[in-house]
């Protein structure tokens, strides 16, 4: 009766008891599959099996030898850093306005948050319709009202007979998936940026005012340096979420046209599930690991620094 009471009063023991379930669960459903994925990548396991013969690094070298894989690796980098560039600029602009108080803030913020709140698979379906080959609303808008105006200065954006096939041309399809993912991640980055801005003490503001820093000057010398750490946190998150994204690319292009938008994730699905080469599929997805590890280490380093200061 009293042993658990004693336990509850001992801080260290209680901490262990309280944290243990979380750690055990994570080890079971994340640790075990992760180790298993590494094991599978070293075997010739095929679809539906959990084991295979040890083949060393064959899967990694075989995957690397495929031109589609290298294209997927390159795409993953372009996709990740392309969309993050858009996201960072957008988040910096939006967050500074959203910390202010003004009329209609609630509804504007709701519109900004929408892409993040919408289930990602469903939001992507909306874009699938926007990029439709025959009835794309982008092409109609660019081809009719916008081209009508631009017509006066002799510019013609969209040829109505042969409009751009957003998801049917290699370069356009890559631009399309980058745009959609930037659209989806931007609100999350905005929220993290707002959190960063909110954590800057008001004293700093007052001190800057007394020193005569205002407007752009204050932005450059005071706000930006203080916001840099949180911006980097948002960037690190964005890199992981984008590099590891499967849904947007899978639903929007399926990796097409002709594998032009394959990412490491969709290519590992293609090889590991559709072609049934489980071992090689695992190897392909593990090529993501160095990137994730680098991001994790950077995060730890930041947290450590934040703790010291």
């Amino acid at each position: 009766m009293s042993w658990w009471r004693n336990l509850a009063e001992s801080r260290r023991a209680l901490a262990v008891v309280l944290i243990a379930p979380a750690v055990l669960f994570i080890l079971l459903v994340v640790g075990v599959p992760l180790v298993w994925a590494i094991y599978l990548s070293l075997t010739d396991a095929i679809g539906g099996s959990l084991t295979g013969n040890f083949v060393g690094l064959d899967n990694f070298t075989h995957a690397w030898g495929d031109a589609n894989f290298r294209k997927a690796l390159q795409n993953t980098l372009v996709f990740t850093f392309g969309s993050q560039a858009i996201v960072l600029v957008g988040a910096a602009l939006l967050s500074h306005q959203l910390v202010k108080e003004f009329r209609g803030k609630w509804i504007l913020r709701m519109l900004v948050v929408l892409p993040w709140a919408a289930p990602v698979a469903l939001g992507t379906l909306g874009w699938l319709w926007i990029f439709d080959s025959l009835f794309s609303v982008i092409n109609w808008t660019a081809g009719h009202p916008i081209d009508w105006v631009l017509g006066f200065v002799g510019i013609d954006l969209v040829d109505p007979i042969n409009p751009p096939q957003w998801l049917g041309r290699a370069n356009l399809a890559l631009i399309a998936v980058i745009m959609v993912h930037a659209w989806r991640v931007l609100p999350f980055a905005v929220v993290i940026f707002i959190a960063g801005l909110a954590s800057i003490p008001t004293e700093v503001d007052d001190a800057a005012k007394i020193d005569g820093a205002d407007g752009l000057k204050k932005m450059w010398w005071v706000t930006l340096p203080l916001q840099l750490p949180i911006a980097l946190v948002a960037l690190l998150f964005g890199i992981v979420f984008t590099a590891a994204d499967f849904t947007v690319v899978f639903l929007l292009t399926g990796g097409g046209p002709f594998n032009a938008t394959q990412m490491l994730t969709t290519w590992s699905f293609q090889i590991g599930i559709n072609s049934g080469s489980l071992g090689e599929g695992a190897a392909i997805s593990l090529y993501l690991f160095p990137l994730l590890a680098a991001v994790s280490i950077a995060m730890l380093w930041f947290a450590r620094r934040a703790q010291v200061s």
Binding site: A22, M110, V113, G123, F135
Partner: protein, 281 residues
């Protein structure tokens, strides 16, 4: 000038671009087929079909979803999975988050970040070994598979947020309760949890949303139409080969998006507080 209207000058264009797909969904939902698949008319308005202008809008594609598809089942599946997963998550994360915030001192921070880093291990890395594993355990094609797997990303996320919330509750409050003769556990249940109710509610909302969003596990583990969640049911069953039920698809998308966006917007300030309370100040 900019000081006064800057917010609108920046926000309105962004809001238009970010919100546009949803406006387009709304317009599409009520369109007649003949109107929708006509490249010659203005797509933003409802073009009357001949003289029967009152028939230019239709709700039949919304009715289709509720009568001819298992949309309601998918919603119920999603809610059931979310409820159980969030329940498990709270049961595990509440004590862990509290312990990491209070009891464990300096290494608490490191352990907290360690748990959080697990959140960064993507499902795209884990689904390959999990897929045959789930089949072997006999829970393939069952919601049980999702219930077992989803806490793998909700627990790290929730633990991190709750740790942030608990750090914002003054230690003195608990100490006072201890002085008054409460045990540490009673103090926890009577004092700390009630105060952190808004934080817990935030975790519930964002936990549910993580479950609703999840795609790759639900896509690879669940194969029958009856057991799909909303994220996989809609793209799998409302797109048949090359045939897209666009109006129905758009409504099926719009409904959960608006509900979630409303909840997000309402709890955003709380979310921000919990997110930064943990670290990264």
């Amino acid at each position: 000038m900019f000081r006064r209207f800057g917010a609108y000058i920046v926000l309105v264009p962004f809001a238009v671009v970010l919100g546009f797909p949803f406006l387009w969904m709304l317009i599409t939902t009520f369109k007649q087929d003949l109107d929708l698949y006509n490249a010659d008319t203005t797509p933003y308005i409802y073009n009357p079909l001949q003289w029967r202008f009152w028939e230019s809008m239709t709700t039949k594609h919304i009715e289709y979803i509720f009568t001819e598809t298992k949309y309601v089942d998918w919603i119920l599946n999603t809610l059931a999975v979310s409820a159980v997963v969030v329940g498990i998550t709270l049961l595990v994360s509440l004590p862990a988050g509290y312990a990491l915030a209070r009891l464990s001192g300096s290494w608490g921070q490191t352990a907290g970040i360690g748990i959080f880093l697990v959140y960064l291990v993507p499902p795209t890395l884990l689904f390959l070994p999990l897929s045959p594993l789930v089949a072997r355990l006999g829970i393939g094609n069952s919601l049980l598979a999702l219930i077992v797997i989803y806490p793998s990303f909700t627990i790290p996320f929730a633990t991190w947020l709750l740790m942030g919330f608990f750090k914002t509750i003054p230690q003195e409050l608990e100490d006072a309760a201890l002085v008054d003769g409460c045990s540490r556990l009673t103090a926890l249940v009577r004092i700390v949890f009630p105060i952190s109710l808004p934080g817990i509610l935030t975790v519930v909302i964002f936990g549910v949303s993580l479950c609703v969003n999840e795609f790759i596990y639900a896509f690879t583990f669940i194969t029958s139409s009856d057991n799909r969640t909303i994220s996989t049911g809609v793209p799998n069953e409302l797109i048949r080969g090359d045939v897209f039920f666009w109006q129905s698809l758009m409504f099926a998308t719009l409904l959960p998006s608006l509900v979630l966006a409303f909840l997000y917007n309402t709890f955003l300030d709380k979310f921000i507080k919990g997110f930064t309370g943990g670290a990264f100040r």
